[in-house]
């Protein structure tokens, strides 16, 4: 039996992109296979071993009664549990249904809703079990993912930044899209880690790494969003891949109040 730390990669509701990030570590993958024992990684290996695991990487959000049972079990057999990506950390894009009437969503997609078993919500892992570390991003960044795995293998806290997208954006030398082009940008309130890529491509940040450690949401709305878009549009924009993270959700509801059922999702025609 191998003495290497046992790694598990487990998926809930998600697009697979975050665990794919691990397989995208082309230069490091074979070395990783030497440094850990991959005990359970269904996308990569047919050899599925039962726990316990030393490190469990969890992708995806909790959306079914079965998911709730699975995550409780996984926590009980994992020494360290790390969530990877926006779905696992904040409920993901599918958490939009938390703002709407779930039954209406089901009917829009499936002709026979009685066949489908889902909870009415999509929730982050941390609402169900203790999480040792949350790695942000939709998708997570490859370098950060490797840093987190290595840090836990060494038993130290990972060094990932909690500054906003603006700082690396400035260091990258990108001319500010808000100041110069009047493009709305969520950079000031979004955590860095992506490389501040959107402004470098002449577009505004859309918040895929979730809220930064320190945010001034109302100031962002008043000074960056509302001069360029209606409150409804601004509220809707905050409700995306990390829309259910409390900081984004609260401001989005302030700008675009919830109404009965998902009627509000259809009121979109007021862009300035």
């Amino acid at each position: 039996m191998s003495k290497l730390p046992r790694l598990a990669v487990v998926k809930f509701a998600s697009c697979d992109g975050c665990q794919l990030t691990l397989l995208d570590c082309e230069d490091e993958l074979l070395a990783l296979g030497e440094a850990v024992h991959i005990a359970h990684f269904a996308e990569a290996s047919s050899q599925l071993e039962e726990g316990p695991y030393d490190i469990a990487l969890v992708e995806g959000s909790i959306t079914t009664p079965h998911d709730v049972e699975r995550i409780l079990l996984l926590r009980s057999i994992s020494r360290v549990l790390i969530t990877i990506g926006a779905c696992a950390t904040s409920g993901g894009i599918q958490a939009l249904k938390n703002f709407a009437d779930h039954q209406e969503f089901m009917k829009a997609v499936y002709a026979r809703p009685e066949f489908i078993q889902t909870l009415s919500t999509s929730t982050p892992i941390s609402q169900h079990v203790k999480v040792d570390f949350e790695l942000r991003g939709c998708p997570v960044d490859k370098v950060q993912l490797l840093e987190v795995i290595q840090a836990y293998l060494r038993g130290v806290r990972p060094k990932t930044s909690s500054e906003s997208v603006c700082q690396p954006c400035k260091r990258r030398g990108t001319v500010c899209v808000v100041v110069v082009q009047g493009i709305p940008c969520l950079g000031p309130i979004t955590q860095s880690g992506c490389g501040s890529i959107c402004p470098a491509f002449d577009r505004g940040c859309y918040g895929c790494f979730g809220p930064a450690a320190a945010t001034n949401m109302t100031s962002l709305s008043d000074n960056v969003l509302l001069p360029n878009m209606s409150p409804t549009e601004a509220g809707k924009w905050l409700r995306s891949f990390n829309g259910y993270s409390p900081v984004f959700a609260e401001e989005s509801v302030r700008l675009w109040p919830l109404t009965l059922s998902n009627k509000s999702h259809k009121e979109g025609g007021d862009t300035k």
């Binding site: 296979g33 269904a42 290996s45 047919s46 894009i93 997609v109 999702h265 979109g268």
Partner: protein, 436 residues
């Protein structure tokens, strides 16, 4: 069905080396196949529903999140559908750059499937990492090939997964010519390496298995079709993309959260993906690729689904060869994005995702918001064909142990590179079971 006959139930709770979450249920009688179900239990995520009311500018970013392995397929199809709705014409240069980006996704996705997911089956290995111990040269070459696809996506799209550069009307930003030229040596290497890879694949021992099907893929006289053309079938039928919904429909079955696709008036399943493309567009492949197919002794038509790894391999060579041309010839003197007006309109598009035909349609309102969306991913179209292959192969396996049957059936499923995250999102269905 004789209810008193002894039954064997084989349950594979987690399909491995596929994208997303599925299971397999088989019920066997003494000498009969009683039930075969590819059970997709990946929870649904309701994309069509929450696209309603969103600004058209968000659609590419949102639909990308249906699948982390083929986000370009979603982004490109969505953008082309909206461009079609509003009659937006993009320049040939922009079209070619988009084609390069799509090829990059094929390189990344096929590279992953060939080396880490599929090839292990031909060597009795549980994973690509295990295969790397037996076939270190091939796996290391494969990882390097796959990485080149990701490098293109990083350059053109900012990052490999959920890139951020595609826009309605073009790109948010174009690469500089020297940035593209920096990738030329990698593509020159990639072309040679992918040819060597196909020769390696050509030496595999392929199981004898014959499962006739109808292949369906885009077809275009001028090029190996990815982003334009008509929807062609190997039975000779062709339909315009705009008529897709009149010719294909989906139904909801109890054992799957993914819908099953059908052809109107034809009860038999059909197949999309690399096998379908190679069969329907063989003449549009480059001479290098066609000669390579001949060299390894692969003759068409082939209805052996295990040959899909050859088809993916040939497409990888095509991607490197054509990609190299685009890299060398692109002149970024064009406008990154053309201006357009929104209006109440409806538009659709079909493209060739790595796993096969993908179809999107959007109804848009005056202000450019989505009033209705429909998305048909490749895997919901292939599900029935996968189940059919399983029914076909099982009689030859009845004397095997349950474990061996399960293992062989998984290899059948893997031939299709199913993308289960993709398969579980959809649309309002037009018919349900039992309603004709």
């Amino acid at each position: 069905m004789d209810d008193t006959s002894p039954k064997r139930k084989i349950h594979v709770p987690i399909l491995t080396r596929v994208e997303g979450e599925g299971a397999l249920n088989i019920v066997l009688g003494r000498d009969s196949i009683q039930r075969v179900e590819l059970n997709i239990y990946e929870p649904p995520r309701f994309f069509e529903a929450f696209l309603q009311g969103r600004n058209h500018n968000e659609v590419a970013d949102i639909t990308a999140r249906i699948c982390g392995i083929c986000p370009i397929a979603y982004q490109m199809t969505a953008i082309q559908a909206m461009e079609s709705a509003w009659g937006i014409q993009i320049s040939e240069s922009i079209y070619r750059l988009r084609r390069l980006m799509y090829f990059a996704e094929w390189i990344e996705s096929h590279g992953l499937h060939i080396h880490l997911l599929h090839a292990p089956d031909f060597f009795g290995c549980a994973s690509g990492l295990e295969l790397a111990k037996k076939e270190p040269v091939a796996v290391q070459r494969g990882l390097k090939l796959k990485k080149i696809g990701n490098q293109v996506l990083e350059l053109l799209g900012g990052r490999a997964i959920h890139p951020i550069s595609l826009a309605v009307g073009g790109f948010f930003r174009l690469p500089r010519r020297e940035e593209l030229l920096q990738l030329v040596p990698q593509f020159e290497w990639g072309l040679e390496a992918s040819i060597a890879m196909v020769r390696w694949i050509g030496g595999f021992a392929f199981p004898e298995f014959h499962s006739p099907t109808t292949y369906v893929a885009l077809q275009c006289p001028q090029e190996y079709a990815i982003m334009k053309g008509v929807i062609a079938s190997s039975d000779g039928a062709t339909v315009d993309v705009g008529k897709y919904e009149q010719c294909f429909y989906e139904e909801h079955v109890e054992h799957s959260t993914a819908l099953h696709a059908h052809r109107v008036g034809n009860p038999l399943p059909y197949q999309v993906g690399p096998m379908a493309r190679v069969h329907l567009s063989f003449d549009q492949l480059s001479p290098t690729v066609r000669e390579l197919a001949e060299e390894i002794g692969w003759t068409l038509p082939s209805f052996n689904p295990y040959h899909s790894i050859i088809a993916r391999g040939l497409e990888l060579v095509q991607a490197f060869q054509e990609g190299l041309d685009i890299l060398k010839s692109f002149e970024p003197k064009v406008q990154a994005r053309v201006a357009y007006e929104t209006s109440e309109a409806s538009g659709c598009s079909a493209t060739e995702a790595p796993r096969g035909l993908i179809y999107h349609r959007y109804d848009l309102d005056q202000s450019g918001h989505v009033s209705r969306a429909k998305i048909v991913p490749p895997t919901s179209q292939n599900q029935r064909q996968i189940e059919r292959d399983l029914v076909k192969i099982l009689p030859s396996l009845l004397s095997e142990t349950d474990e061996n049957i399960a293992r062989r059936c998984e290899t059948v499923i893997r031939n299709y590179d199913p993308c289960i995250s993709c398969a579980t999102h959809f649309l309002k269905v037009r018919r349900t079971k039992g309603v004709e």
